[in-house]
Symmetry: none
Subunit: 403 residues, 2 copies
């Protein structure tokens, strides 16, 4: 799809409510050949009931064989062609913590890391230091002054922070400094286009100052910068689809991508699925579309912990009745990509997808929610950018095309 | 996909080995309603084992309902959008036998045929005369002289030859002379665009001379010309996907298409699947990607011989252990199109496809390699240009897209 004009022409308001429940990195692989995947291994009576009543399929976040980052993975589910809209991680992280990135600004995602006496990286995440431990280090970095630009540095979570440069003559066409492995030095920032040479100089000056300021700290005695990016100025989700969208997410980055498309983020306490569903319940009457993001599935997959990922899925299933009590008209459960615990990283495998819409769905014959059931599902294998047209249609929110 | 920039951005080198095993015209139809297809009827224990361990799907060489020629069929599997890159058969055949086709040249594929006293075609392939019998006829044709152009005529195999015109002011926008049926005369060459009128005149003069020179030969007493074409100047496969590709094929045309995309062709003796796999084994350490082409499946399909096509498939299956002993990381088995023996020609039906990649595949629940199992397969039905992204991903040769 990815044709906003078509959606804008056909989208119509309705009283129906839609929920996109994203279990980040949901798709998995068997622990041993022929065995169940994490999702298939999970006790999931509620998801299985929805699968029986709804229809299944496989969504491709970007395309066959393409492993998506979190930005493209979510943009696709929101109906934005991830090959057309390229958003840097710096901007995503910045938006997620409420830091504005203006037209002229350049944002970067920073990681505290550990380097040895020779300056070689020994831990790319500084032992994943606690958010509280990172805060005073971020305050040190915020004291760095550079000629002609203002800088804002803000903690995100654990070893992650955001730095934004503001001033004239900047460009985000810059190479990253994280070498993606240990035993080597952080890389210098390089200008990928001539117009970015001033920005490259400034970021390198900033990194040199950061190195001095952090020299005596342990384990976080250096930083790396990634995802240099500016405001991508995306068309607004609510305008395209004529609805009031809300985001419920624990992690800043996912609130960030939701804000980028113009969703309202809902604040809440706690970080369990039940807390997220309770937040949805409180906001239920004020919005038409809820994007709910569950992070634990991806985190446990990245840890390589099959059983913990199973438990993360079970926690969602157990909390699900509270969400279903709200009686959404359309519910889609899927992932933004696969994160098989066997691979400990995002993968290219399609995402299992469940579409439940009691009034409008054409149910298939599958009776459980799992990767192999989804391979046979009634929706087939399709691009994630088709999720929004499918949800809109099942919610009676798309007019007929043509006479 | 068909987006070379994306592939070039994401492709990364690795030590993994990939094999694309193409059984030309593999897809078939049942001999009688409800019965097995050629592939389903074949004894294929090795292919079935790979199907159990891997995942299946259906590939569409060009698109739903489109019957591909060999050029588009292969380009798609190599990742080149066959609707964007249009390669004539003349160029394919010429490259296959080592005849260069320069920027200004026009190549055509020729067929010896048999005509009666009235000039009507009685056999479009002159009884598929032997290559040795065709050679002196080709030498006769090579004596034809035309004003302002040089010509090169070269035998290919059996009734097939190649003719290349070289000179200024030529164009390949020409209509074919093979009427595709018997009982009628060969057609004249017509210019499809005004700029091709000189080329049309020259080819018609050449055909008139050929008619005179061959008048007393039997059964090959005339020729038809098809696939007028020039060098399409394709981007190179190895550059796009950052790998060292090799081709193992018995028939010149398939070596031709491989050369067109920059693959290295490997010489070997014999024409059995076992000979081809032995050639792969000898070259194994020097390349990352092997395109292996099996012709017999298509030839027996075109003969309309169900049982012989079954045997051609069984010959591949029997030889397969030698290929598997090399322990490829990724193996795809498919066809460039379907050639059901019931139709005696290429067809538009999707190609059964098997993807085997022990370290990275998400296996489906299918237990045999056949058309109907592939309809239910975990990969779904997808464009053949997705085969390369899928192989690259399963070989850990594609980086993550986006942050």
């Amino acid at each position: 799809m990815a044709d906003f004009r078509l959606m804008q022409d056909l989208a119509q308001e309705a009283k129906t409510k839609m929920v996109l429940l994203v279990m980040d990195g949901l798709g998995g692989l068997p622990h041993s050949k022929g065995g169940p995947t994490e999702l298939e291994a999970a006790a999931r009576p509620n998801l299985n009931r929805l699968a029986r009543e709804g229809t299944l399929g496989q969504s491709l976040p970007v395309g066959h064989g393409i492993t998506p980052g979190s930005g493209p993975g979510h943009l696709g589910m929101f109906g934005y062609d991830p090959l057309r809209f390229d958003i840097g991680r710096g901007v995503l992280e910045a938006f997620g913590i409420g830091v504005e990135v203006g037209e002229k600004d350049v944002a970067a995602r920073g990681n505290f890391c550990t380097v040895d006496a020779a300056g070689l990286i020994t831990d790319r995440r500084a032992g994943r230091i606690a958010t509280d431990a990172a805060r005073p280090l971020v305050e040190k970095l915020a004291t760095i002054r550079l000629p002609g630009v203002t800088t804002e540095v803000r903690p995100v979570k654990e070893h992650r922070f955001v730095v934004v440069f503001r001033g004239d003559g900047l460009s985000a066409e810059l190479s990253e400094t994280d070498p993606q492995r240990t035993g080597v030095s952080p890389l210098p920032v390089r200008a990928l286009q001539a117009k970015a040479s001033r920005a490259a100089d400034l970021f390198n000056q900033w990194l040199a100052e950061a190195h001095k300021l952090l020299a005596k700290d342990r384990p976080a005695n250096m930083v790396t910068l990634r995802g240099f990016s500016g405001d991508p100025r995306l068309p607004k989700f609510g305008d395209i689809f004529k609805l009031r969208p809300a985001c419920v997410a624990v992690y800043p980055m996912y609130r960030g991508v939701a804000k980028l498309v113009g969703m309202q983020t809902i604040a809440f306490d706690g970080d369990a699925p039940a807390d997220e569903f309770a937040a949805v319940a409180r906001a239920w009457k004020d919005f038409d579309y809820f994007f709910i993001h569950i992070k634990a599935t991806d985190s446990r997959g990245e840890d390589g912990n099959f059983d913990a990922k199973v438990k993360a899925i079970e926690a969602v299933d157990q909390a699900l009745p509270a969400l279903m009590q709200l009686a959404p008209d359309v519910l889609v459960v899927t992932g933004d990509h696969s994160t098989p615990s066997a691979m400990k990283t995002h993968s290219f495998h399609p995402c299992p997808l469940l579409l439940w819409a009691p009034a409008t769905v054409r149910a298939d014959e599958e009776t459980s929610f799992g990767e192999r059931a989804c391979m046979r599902g009634g929706l087939g294998t399709f691009a994630a950018i088709e999720i929004m047209p499918l949800m809109m249609a099942h919610a009676n929110r798309l007019a007929k095309y043509g006479a």
